[in-house]
């Protein structure tokens, strides 16, 4: 993950320096002004934004895009201060942030650019097919310690999670363990195994019938079993897929946004149009996110 990010950084640097030094071949129209797009925000989106910027700059050498992370709040704050053109956010803008922006003479405009879904996975030998959010929360907080209590075999539950520095970990904590309630202070059970990689989680789930894990939908391999999840006991159980996520049925998913100051114009508009197009949305799938339109 990290090396991938580093690689992207290097690649985008190369791309940047490439277009800086590019000599325009004679006969082709020289771009009037080199457009420069400043893009900042959510760490969840930073890899995706970098990949987009890299591909887009390859197509349009006259446009330069700088991408930085820092968190959704950082990106939106920069948008309010007028220092970025595009703010990446893995959550919607808050009412007070909108008020601040308006007070600064900036109207934030929201663009949904991709979706993110987390799949809950178990070993294929585990007879469990479906769980409610409440049950998953109780499993991970340590209230439920045996698969028997959720209708499975008499086996201890081994909880697997990504390390605390992963964006997926934080999202799972807020949306699943705490059921999206901001005053809920539920924590992961202390004996939750924190594994440093997606691969570590997949390897253990594949091998261990006691294990339960979670990961971004795009990272799930076919040799583990994906669980259908229901919002509550009276809701239908939904398997995660591009269709169910886009239809808003799968409960552990969220939209990813880019915000602009006012309606986008010029290079920024062209970039955003390209992002929602098929080529950029293919990159979304490659990086483990869900494209906004089902293919």
């Amino acid at each position: 993950m990290k090396t991938a990010r580093l690689l992207l950084c290097i690649l985008s640097l190369i791309a940047l320096s490439g277009c800086a030094n590019a000599t325009v071949p004679a006969g082709q129209p020289t771009p009037a002004t080199a457009a420069y797009i400043e893009n900042k925000g959510s760490d969840t989106i930073v890899n995706l934004a970098l990949a987009w910027a890299e591909s887009y700059q390859a197509l349009h050498p006259e446009v330069r895009i700088s991408v930085t992370g820092g968190g959704s709040g950082t990106g939106i704050a920069a948008l309010i201060n007028g220092t970025v053109d595009l703010a990446n956010a893995s959550r919607q803008i808050k009412a007070e942030e909108t008020a601040d922006a308006l007070a600064n003479g900036i109207t934030p405009v929201e663009h949904t650019i991709a979706r993110d879904a987390i799949a809950v996975i178990v070993n294929p030998q585990n007879p469990i097919q479906q769980l409610t959010l409440q049950q998953i929360s109780d499993i991970y907080s340590g209230k439920i310690d045996n698969w028997l209590e959720v209708g499975g075999e008499d086996r201890p539950i081994v909880r697997l999670s990504r390390e605390t520095n992963s964006g997926t970990h934080v999202y799972f904590l807020e949306q699943v363990l705490r059921l999206g309630q901001s005053d809920n202070k539920t924590l992961f059970a202390a004996n939750t195994l924190l594994l440093p990689s997606s691969e570590g989680i997949t390897a253990e789930v594949r091998d261990n019938p006691n294990a339960i894990g979670y990961d971004g939908l795009g990272y799930v391999t076919p040799d583990v079993k994906v669980i259908a999840v229901a919002k509550d006991a009276s809701s239908p159980y939904i398997f995660p897929s591009a269709e169910s996520v886009n239809a808003g049925q799968y409960p552990i998913s969220r939209d990813l946004y880019m915000y602009t100051a006012g309606e986008p114009t010029g290079a920024v508009k062209a970039y955003l149009d390209w992002i929602v197009g098929p080529e950029a949305q293919e990159i979304v799938t490659e990086l483990g996110f869900v494209p906004i339109k089902s293919p």
């Binding site: 605390t164 520095n165 202390a190 195994l193 091998d207 261990n208």
Partner: protein
């Protein structure tokens, strides 16, 4: 003749002296840096928080006890594997094995010592952990035991090669004298050769333990990294070591934040633990030598 050799000699003496002192300077600088970055943790967060039993840094739970106990359990387990195996192998190589076998074994052990721990960690995830889960009927094989076995394996070559050198340097006359007095081969090894090489063997053990407590990658991959307080059967449960915590969290921590300082504070704790191990070892070795000298004089 004398005048021509003085100048290079002077230079060489100084160079050797400087490299000798540089070790001290580097340790001092590292310790200063650790203190500088880690000490703020003590002022920014109450001691009671650092001594609590919950480690969950993103919600400001900074209890170090599960991490310290995790490191101790894994290291102790590794020592239980590495010390008997390492000393046994060293004794076999230096006292029992015929010369040709020894010529093969010694390089093999050294190759084992050169294996990258990431590779061992990978084997640990794919082979050792599933095996332990099935063989011992554990909820998961990613446990302190898996870490201890891997670390033991990593420490064995260190123990073997230092202990073997120590045994090798015991004068032949000691063995001959013991055998001449009618001692069996086992009695010679156990009562004469090993005690004579005691200080070297002890150094080997300490170096092995030092290697184990500082090891990071393999441990992070196989121990499960769950920061739990140890129970009676802690060896069979997941554990989170101090080194794995630093390695896993340092990459993403905000520079200068409380979490950042606490991670450096863990570094200080690790530093002090390995210092304590070294001081104890050299104190024991020193005392041994004095006693030996007393007897000889």
């Amino acid at each position: 003749m004398k005048s021509t050799s003085t100048w290079p000699e002077f230079l060489i003496t100084r160079l050797i002296k400087a490299s000798g002192y540089s070790a001290i300077v580097f340790v001092a600088l590292i310790f200063y840096f650790l203190l500088n970055e880690g000490a703020p943790a003590l002022f920014k967060t109450p001691l009671s928080s650092l001594l609590s039993t919950r480690w969950y840094p993103i919600e400001n739970y900074f209890g170090l006890l599960p991490l310290i106990s995790g490191s101790l359990i894994v290291t102790l387990g590794a020592a239980l594997v590495a010390v008997p195996f390492g000393i046994g192998t060293a004794v076999f190589m230096s006292e029992i094995a015929p010369r040709w076998l020894r010529e093969i074994l010694k390089p093999l052990v050294e190759v084992l010592g050169g294996l990258p721990s990431v590779v061992l960690g990978f084997l640990g995830i794919l082979l050792l952990a599933p095996f332990l889960r099935r063989a011992l009927d554990l909820p998961t094989g990613l446990s302190a035991l898996a870490g201890a076995l891997l670390l033991g394996g990593i420490a064995v070559p260190t123990v073997v090669s230092v202990a073997e050198d120590a045994l090798d340097s015991v004068p032949r006359s000691y063995r001959d004298a013991a055998l001449a007095l009618g001692a069996t081969r086992w009695q010679t090894i156990w009562r004469v050769t090993l005690p004579a090489a005691r200080s070297g063997v002890l150094t080997a053990v300490m170096l092995g333990i030092g290697r184990a407590i500082g090891e990071t990658m393999a441990v992070m991959m196989v121990t499960g990294n769950a920061a739990v307080m140890p129970s009676l059967l802690a060896l069979f449960h997941p554990a989170r070591t101090m080194t794995a915590t630093i390695a896993a969290e340092m990459g993403e921590v905000a520079n200068g934040s409380l979490h950042y300082h606490v991670l450096f504070f863990i570094g200080i704790v690790l530093f002090l633990i390995s210092l304590a191990i070294n001081v104890t070892a050299s104190a024991v070795v020193f005392r041994q030598k004095k006693r030996a000298e007393r007897i000889l004089s």
